[in-house]
């Protein structure tokens, strides 16, 4: 499918800002939605709206079928063995919090250790800090190298008999470097340590097969992969999910309730208390289909062009410099000598370009590189080479205005 046809699938890509064509380069924050996702949401709201899993009436049965079909679509997309290993959440953040709480309740005690990395998004740091303070456990942090790679030797040295879990990004939302998660999982499993992979960025650009990867948990958001906001997934291996207590109590997640005590349903219901995102979750079906189409048509021309342009510009410091283009997704964070990231973002905005400036929810990583913030341009497969050229040209103009 050609790029023009792909772009027409996304109504928001045709929007104009300040009378100019929108160039949307904030995809790492959230992607745009295809019409098929919007249609699914409308259909769920106008034709199929009923609460799921509860009633015997026709509408509820239909809504339940759609919701469970979405679970099957996710299972297939990530290559999970069984649907019971796919839990719907409100997003990556909720998925990680669920594990930090439930896994932590069951497996983490005083003096135990949790390992994260310096390049994690706050949502893969703070839930673990909260767990550590709750359980008097210790958080250990894997270092990032100057070119934006994880220091695997350091990771290995941090693993001990007290390490209960390692939480690591598939792809950093700042650096855009694809972490060797399979190797990391191998290293950790050799020492009997389970691994949670934050797939918020990785699922979009790299895809995943959780069985091949052999990860213990994989978390991602729907809204970054074209689905409705408020949708998210937690994949967990059955052996862990069976052992983990529920995160939230409420309807749907129980087997029997008496005032003497309550027994819980099996996964995934055990972890899906309360009314779920009935209209949202089914949008994952067209969203993942879109992701499949986009991934097939994506080439690395945009990645190579932007990487080359940023690397050869002496005014620009790029964070996350790949040792080979296969290690990088088109997420570029950088700073410009003498120009503040916020000024650049503001000027680019007036040129119709949406980029992100600031700490990108990764304050420890900003400290690591000694900056107060960065400018980030993150491309999706629907972005064109023309947009990339316009971005590079506009960036140059913006820098010249400021420096």
């Amino acid at each position: 499918m050609d790029k023009g046809k792909i772009r027409r699938m996304f109504p928001a890509l045709g929007v104009k800002v300040y009378g100019r064509d929108l160039v949307y380069l904030d995809n790492a924050a959230t992607s745009q939605r295809p019409q098929s996702v919007v249609d699914k949401w409308v259909q769920m709201s106008t034709e199929t709206n009923a609460n799921i899993h509860r009633a015997v009436h026709a509408l509820s049965v239909k809504a339940t079928e759609e919701y469970e079909a979405a679970r099957e679509a996710v299972r297939e997309f990530i290559g999970a063995a069984d649907r019971s290993e796919v839990i719907f959440t409100s997003g990556t953040t909720a998925s990680i919090n669920l594990v930090a709480f439930s896994f932590g309740e069951r497996f983490v005690g005083e003096g135990d250790e949790i390992v994260v990395t310096e390049e994690e998004h706050h949502s893969n740091i703070v839930p673990w800090q909260m767990l550590c303070s709750r359980k008097k456990a210790v958080l250990k942090v894997v270092k990032v190298t100057d070119d934006g790679y994880l220091d695997l030797k350091h990771l290995e040295s941090l693993l001990s008999e007290r390490t209960k879990i390692v939480a690591v990004a598939h792809v950093s939302n700042v650096l855009g470097i694809v972490n060797p998660v399979k190797d990391i999982i191998g290293i950790c499993h050799a020492k009997g340590v389970p691994v949670l992979v934050d797939g918020a960025q990785g699922i979009v650009h790299c895809g995943v097969n959780v069985q091949d990867l052999d990860c213990d948990f994989y978390a991602f958001s729907g809204h970054k992969i074209y689905a409705a906001t408020g949708t998210g997934v937690l994949y967990g291996k059955k052996k862990w999910l069976d052992e983990m207590p529920p995160y939230m109590g409420g309807g749907e997640m129980i087997e029997t309730v008496t005032f003497e005590g309550t027994t819980y349903a099996k996964s995934p219901q055990k972890f899906e208390a309360g009314t779920q995102n009935i209209a949202g979750a089914p949008t994952l079906i067209p969203a993942l289909e879109t992701a499949r189409i986009l991934k097939e048509t994506e080439d690395d021309s945009v990645l190579k062009y932007v990487l080359d342009a940023l690397m050869k510009d002496g005014r620009i410091s790029l964070y996350g410099v790949p040792r080979g283009t296969k290690d990088k997704v088109p997420v570029f964070s950088f700073s410009v000598n003498g120009a503040h990231h916020e000024d650049l973002a503001l000027i680019l905005d007036k040129m119709g370009i949406a980029v992100r400036s600031g700490q990108m929810c990764a304050e420890p990583l900003m400290d690591r590189f000694g900056v107060t913030g960065m400018l980030r341009a993150s491309f999706a497969p629907y972005n064109t080479l023309e947009e990339a050229r316009y971005f590079v040209k506009s960036l140059d103009r913006a820098i010249n205005m400021l420096v």
Binding site: Y18, H340, D343, I347, M351, T372, M401, L402
Partner: protein, 136 residues
């Protein structure tokens, strides 16, 4: 130039530009012209809360009037605070505290800044007003 004249001049200056990029260039110019900020005043308590970039504001009362100095690590923000200072520095606390700052809406500054930046502008105005209230 009295306060009203100073505000009118800013509105007139802004009206010369059609494009927001030109207005930014004008603000960048103002930022670059801003008087150097004293190193010893670069303190935590002089930072204006609510701005994404760092903005320092220092004030001094002389002969019943308030004089401001400011700085920011982002140049457009520095231009904005510079514009505010050019209008309000040297006024009496009563003038500043009693002003409606409506000329900023007239030049469309608030709605043309990104939400975080507009929040920063609101914080700058609040800080100026609070300083004036306290100096009364």
């Amino acid at each position: 130039m009295d306060l009203q004249e100073a505000k009118d001049k800013v509105v007139e200056d802004f009206s010369m530009f059609d494009e927001w990029l030109d207005k930014y260039e004008y603000l960048i110019g103002l930022g670059k012209e801003l008087e150097e900020y004293p190193e010893e005043a670069r303190t935590e308590d002089r930072l204006i809360k609510g701005c994404q970039s760092r903005v320092w504001l220092d004030s001094e009362k002389r002969e019943g009037r308030l004089f401001f100095k400011a700085d920011s690590d982002a140049i457009i923000t520095k231009g904005i605070i510079s514009l505010l200072i050019s209008v309000y520095s040297g006024r009496t606390p009563e003038e500043i505290a009693g002003d409606d700052f409506a000329f900023l809406d007239e030049i469309g500054l608030k709605e043309n800044l990104s939400p975080t930046r507009a929040g920063g502008l609101v914080s700058m105005i609040e800080t100026l007003k609070r300083t004036a209230e306290e100096a009364r």
